[in-house]
Symmetry: C2
Subunit: 313 residues, 2 copies
């Protein structure tokens, strides 16, 4: 199974409003709720790709209870998402996306998340250590909730490496900087995250710098242009066959699922990248935020362009 | 006891953001949750005024459960708010106020509320009839959730009148228009609601028209200018001693509590109006939306100006 860690899980709400007018009152015309947080999204895509996944991190309060009920209600088949979330006293956060139906634009509000105590963190570490013994790979995803030390991901990367489990780190800012120093197998920054980490807006230069800082492989998301992978085995750029329009929510999480499933299946870098780019493009094309369009995925997969850089990584 | 009916109860959320920028992402810097819906607010103020109150209406789903937990946790003393909400299968709505800390302006989002079935409405009517037998007065408050017929308030007004219980109706639009025809003892429209009902922007003319349509007494809220009461006993205008600045959320609900408690205590119209205006002004002055500042209330009460109109109502 593939383990995904979401320390700051979320109940993701979407409100449709006819038009967003600041400082006025809005009738919400449509409303949806889904279990959220990056690692939860990754787990759902992994299941769709045929991999058992286990979700851990924290959940608490009324919103945490709703999140867990929704996880339990996910469709099961030959493979499933298993809930191994650790209880916290605080309330799991909500995220709210307000969609302006006139323009299609989204305005996002993110609650900070529960304050996690030292005892709760200790309970999580015990559970994480246990889960690693059965994991083929682990993804560490998203922001840290209040109360968790900024070096938390570095600690989790080290534990995964000690357990011999390949580890992908998908976060930003100081937690990313600290986490990289613990030598994760993969990181998947976007252009902004890479620039914040390395000071360079050039993805190739930034990715090489991130490798020097400790990441074994760097997959830089280039948005609609695809992905750049810089690894000990070589450097590749993968591009979708054509630019697409749609909702990019969850596209990065789908890419993480593509990369990790490819790693576990022993695919080579070009095939992992094809899968990641096709999945993230099919996620942008899906009418539902955070879901991918399977027909589009299968149609795109053989059409992703792969270009190898001749120069040394 | 005083009964308050809130057919579309709510969990009221407030998000503070540093500045609201449409089509961007916001970190919520402070978050609060409180039990909401107009009748719930009225009940809380009634308790603070020394009156037992019973809250009915509907509650359901995870948000309904949080609402009920919060009602149960309200401070109790010699008097209390009693929860007599009727369960529904759907989810109680949330309302969200996003406060821009840079300007103090609020942007409001209101979910529609659960779809109430015919069986749930029947269960509510049975409970309402029972509760009326012990009620000294009843307030019917706010919007109708989906599924409830537009004449619902007219039905509830008639049942209260048959039971001999004075009834105040505080709603708007077609439910108000229909409800008035059933001859409630009091209505408390603001200027917009009165204009929508009668077509007149002149409060005195509008209030007289509303009386002809069936309301025995009309208390028109004039916002910062106070209130105008048009009743079989006469016509009065009540004004706060000075204009105040603050958050008007809940000011109308405090006024309803002031009017109903005054009616139950047998106060004359000028004293009821003094209480209503002092309470709503003290609510605007409170730093917490929907709460009133008791010290301000007591200081304001003797200073509310009352002017009687000589002309016939």
């Amino acid at each position: 199974m593939i383990l995904t860690v979401t320390l700051n899980t979320a109940l993701d709400l979407t409100y449709d409003v006819p038009a967003l007018v600041p400082h006025s009152s809005h009738r919400v015309t449509a409303l949806s709720e889904r279990p959220g947080g990056k690692g939860v999204n990754v787990a759902r895509v992994l299941t769709a790709l045929g991999h058992d996944s286990v979700v851990t991190g924290f959940a608490g309060g009324a919103t945490g209870a709703v999140l867990r009920t929704m996880l339990a209600a996910l469709p099961t088949g030959p493979v499933a998402v298993t809930d191994a979330l650790v209880p916290v006293a605080g309330d799991t956060r909500r995220t709210l996306a307000v969609v302006d139906r006139a323009t299609g634009d989204t305005t996002q509000f993110n609650e900070p998340g529960p304050h996690v105590t030292a005892d709760e963190w200790t309970a999580f570490l015990a559970s994480y250590g246990e889960l690693l013994t059965a994991a083929d790979a682990v993804a560490l995803c998203g922001s840290l909730p209040p109360g968790i030390h900024v070096g938390a991901y570095a600690e989790l990367v080290r534990l995964a490496r000690t357990a011999g489990v390949p580890v992908l780190l998908d976060t930003s800012g100081e937690p990313l900087r600290r986490g990289i120093a613990a030598r994760p197998d993969l990181i998947k920054p976007n252009a902004d995250e890479l620039a914040q980490l390395t000071g360079s807006r050039d993805p190739l230069r930034g990715a090489r710098d991130a490798r020097r800082r400790g990441a074994h492989g760097v997959i830089a998301s280039l948005g609609p242009a695809g992905m750049l992978a810089v690894s000990p085995d070589g450097t590749w750029q993968a591009s979708p066959p054509a630019p697409v329009r749609g909702n990019p929510t969850g596209a990065g999480d789908s890419a993480v699922a593509g990369l990790l499933s490819g790693l576990v299946e022993g695919l080579d870098w070009p095939d992992r990248l094809r899968r990641a780019v096709a999945l993230s493009t099919a996620t942008v094309l899906s009418p539902t935020a955070g879901e991918f369009d399977r027909a589009a995925y299968e149609e795109l997969l053989p059409r992703v362009g792969i270009e190898e850089h001749a120069d040394a990584a």
